[in-house]
Symmetry: C3
Subunit: 336 residues, 3 copies
Amino acid sequence: MKRFLDLDDLTDDRLQAVLRRAAALERAPITDDLRGKTIGLLFMNPSLRTLASMQAGAQQLGGSTFVITPGQGSWTLETRDSVVMDGDAVEHVREAIPVLAQYADALGVRCFAKGKDLDEDLADGLIRQMADLCPKPFINLESALAHPCQALADWKTLEDLDVPRHGGRFVLSWAYHPKALALAVPTAALTMAARRGMDVTVLHPEGYDLPDPVLGKARALAASSGGSVTVSHDRRQALDGAHVVYCKSWGAPQHYGRPDDEAVLRRELRDWCVQESWFGPARPDARFMHCLPVRRNVKVADEVLDGPRSVVVQQAGNRLHAQKALMIELLTEGGA
Amino acid sequence: MKRFLDLDDLTDDRLQAVLRRAAALERAPITDDLRGKTIGLLFMNPSLRTLASMQAGAQQLGGSTFVITPGQGSWTLETRDSVVMDGDAVEHVREAIPVLAQYADALGVRCFAKGKDLDEDLADGLIRQMADLCPKPFINLESALAHPCQALADWKTLEDLDVPRHGGRFVLSWAYHPKALALAVPTAALTMAARRGMDVTVLHPEGYDLPDPVLGKARALAASSGGSVTVSHDRRQALDGAHVVYCKSWGAPQHYGRPDDEAVLRRELRDWCVQESWFGPARPDARFMHCLPVRRNVKVADEVLDGPRSVVVQQAGNRLHAQKALMIELLTEGGA
Amino acid sequence: MKRFLDLDDLTDDRLQAVLRRAAALERAPITDDLRGKTIGLLFMNPSLRTLASMQAGAQQLGGSTFVITPGQGSWTLETRDSVVMDGDAVEHVREAIPVLAQYADALGVRCFAKGKDLDEDLADGLIRQMADLCPKPFINLESALAHPCQALADWKTLEDLDVPRHGGRFVLSWAYHPKALALAVPTAALTMAARRGMDVTVLHPEGYDLPDPVLGKARALAASSGGSVTVSHDRRQALDGAHVVYCKSWGAPQHYGRPDDEAVLRRELRDWCVQESWFGPARPDARFMHCLPVRRNVKVADEVLDGPRSVVVQQAGNRLHAQKALMIELLTEGGA
């Protein structure tokens, strides 16, 4: 395995091996697996966790990194093929990716959804195009439809918390946010949970149905793993017996690319801010998960984030361990 | 000692030990004290010296760093508690600090004064809040009221120059600047000089009295160390017999948070630009100090900065040595 | 040799030694020549290749780097002497360069042409001023008139491709670009090719004659090396028997600093976009070179960039090897 575009790129065996290695690296974080190796990081969008943990992780394995941020110290990049580049973008990814790949032993790239055309973002073509341009190992650091490093870290978090694979009840709950957000994280969380064999409920207000290809993929994974995927608009029903509430906002697919139309639907939904009271029907020890960053008292109340249910900081900590294990998997003989 | 929020966090013994180690590191800069260790650096404000010297310093000790700059490649951060985050800020420091701390062996944070409310900035609460959120060693890289890495470097510079502790005459002189600047550096320089036992004169135009808590702290330190603190508006008198003139601008505390009102007072004070002629009453070998960055021919004339009195580049050089010694103090058994 | 401001700073012997070492480093990229050494990188303008390859290169040699980007996380820098700094710039290079030099074992600096005054940019004074302020080895990462790291990489690329030194036909062709660009790269490519002993043709539309000092220097180098320098406005004639077409845009020197006037001349020249059909009179295996970034279908057509003639990615790859060899030359006993 030389590219990690989505969790699918890891077979069940390799996924378990990566998770075991992540746990081992949590206990003994300093190795020299990446001695003499450089990881090139290209961030076309902002980052805190990924930016910090990829650098720290490579360094803790004896390697090093460089960071390129187009438009902030580096040239703005064009991504469309066959275009006449007489606008703002100065360089094309068709040059930038192969060039950076020559300086590095692997590339990690973040490129968010454009948010204009639902089908285009569902196809997640740009990250694949960039991976195809890269002759070295390639890591998706969040694309239009995938965030597999987050999914890997979240899987490890569920293991750490002893949330059962079979019979574990996982609720992916929509939450209010001032803007229509992308589908990458809800898709990543949903498909991860389904593949892990859990009973997954997608909870959201009317109008926020996840697109069919996303739900379809999750259902297929659940069918293989012995899990299930259900959709609900009823909060009490959805949280009944829940082990985990994973909170995330996303834009209404029916208004994709038309934020003004979507805002009309959205503005009535401010009460979709997770409160402690939501957890009434859940298991007493139910956990609150979120990939971060999170807007406090908009998506979730302080009482939840600051209370004992919240494992958001642990999730972020697992980004480090999971990504270190992944880099070893992609870059060394000890992996694969 | 696991956090360095102000020079107070070092006892006299440990302060001397850090200064001795800084001098040793100046002679032999390459060690492996930080082998396998990562320092996370969070810059909520611009930097040149701190940004470069923290990275170079960690690397020279065999360690590594990562840099997070909110709003420039990373998410904008909210710092206020209990707020509804429906504005520009995407992430709260209550998540960001614990998350980054998991990726690092220590955090260094820069967060300048907000400059709105004098009492709030005098309380220097934000840096303490962030340190409290950090379970790892924590270094203040300049806060609302403190710049202890600068103070440590300045102390070393005074030692290097053989400026006497007792009987050394240290003038902290206000200077003109187009904007009302923060109190962190004047407070750091004043309290450092007072603690070192020097006879300190604070020279400034009328209306620019340092706040009582700042002067009070300096006087208490001077009382313990055998030094003194005097305030003067008379340049000739203040510089009489001076060993050092430490130049810094700050806003008039009486107009704190109201820059338009302050500008009326300030615009008459353009002659507070340090000239060679100021040094007439000083010792012939009197030194000019400034923390940098400095606006040439606004705060100080080229003739002074380019002349033999100026030790501003040496001061900045000592940032490296002092911070390396401090990191060893905070992060290793060899420290503490 | 302790500073590398232009290719002239390397004698023929040392240039050949650096190229040999670059080739050796391409085969065996990991060494510890820079163990314990830090390279400070100051970017006053955007970069992708230089930013990434300097960091990766230093790391692959066992060293490390820090990056300072004025205006983006660091203070804006003043470069003019004797100025009253009451405008936007917060710090002067007269402080910034010596300060950064204390934290590093060498500095690399990028500072593009100001594009206001032709004579000023032809004098290339700012990079020299900064080198003079730096007591450590100093590397020009592209200045007003020079891009010697690019020239070194391009020389290596020509060697890799077995383009003959004597009798090799090298065409430097102007190309359309929406803006009037600087003279650094055309000057670097022209003087490199002339020094290498090739028969060089400068091809450009009327009004785009390179300034006399640039052409004069190239002709003097050609006279020493046994090469030649010719100017042509005739594409077919210029490309006749060419081994290499090196494409670059530059502003019309006669309208230097007056982009609106220049735009009138320029807007008729959109057909100066390199097409496959241009290569009719060239050698069948003629190569296309460009320093990157390049605007696709503006300066050069996709068919050329994506075809077998293009060596632009290899050129960029050679930046890494050439700069690593250069750092060893400047920083170690094994060099010089």
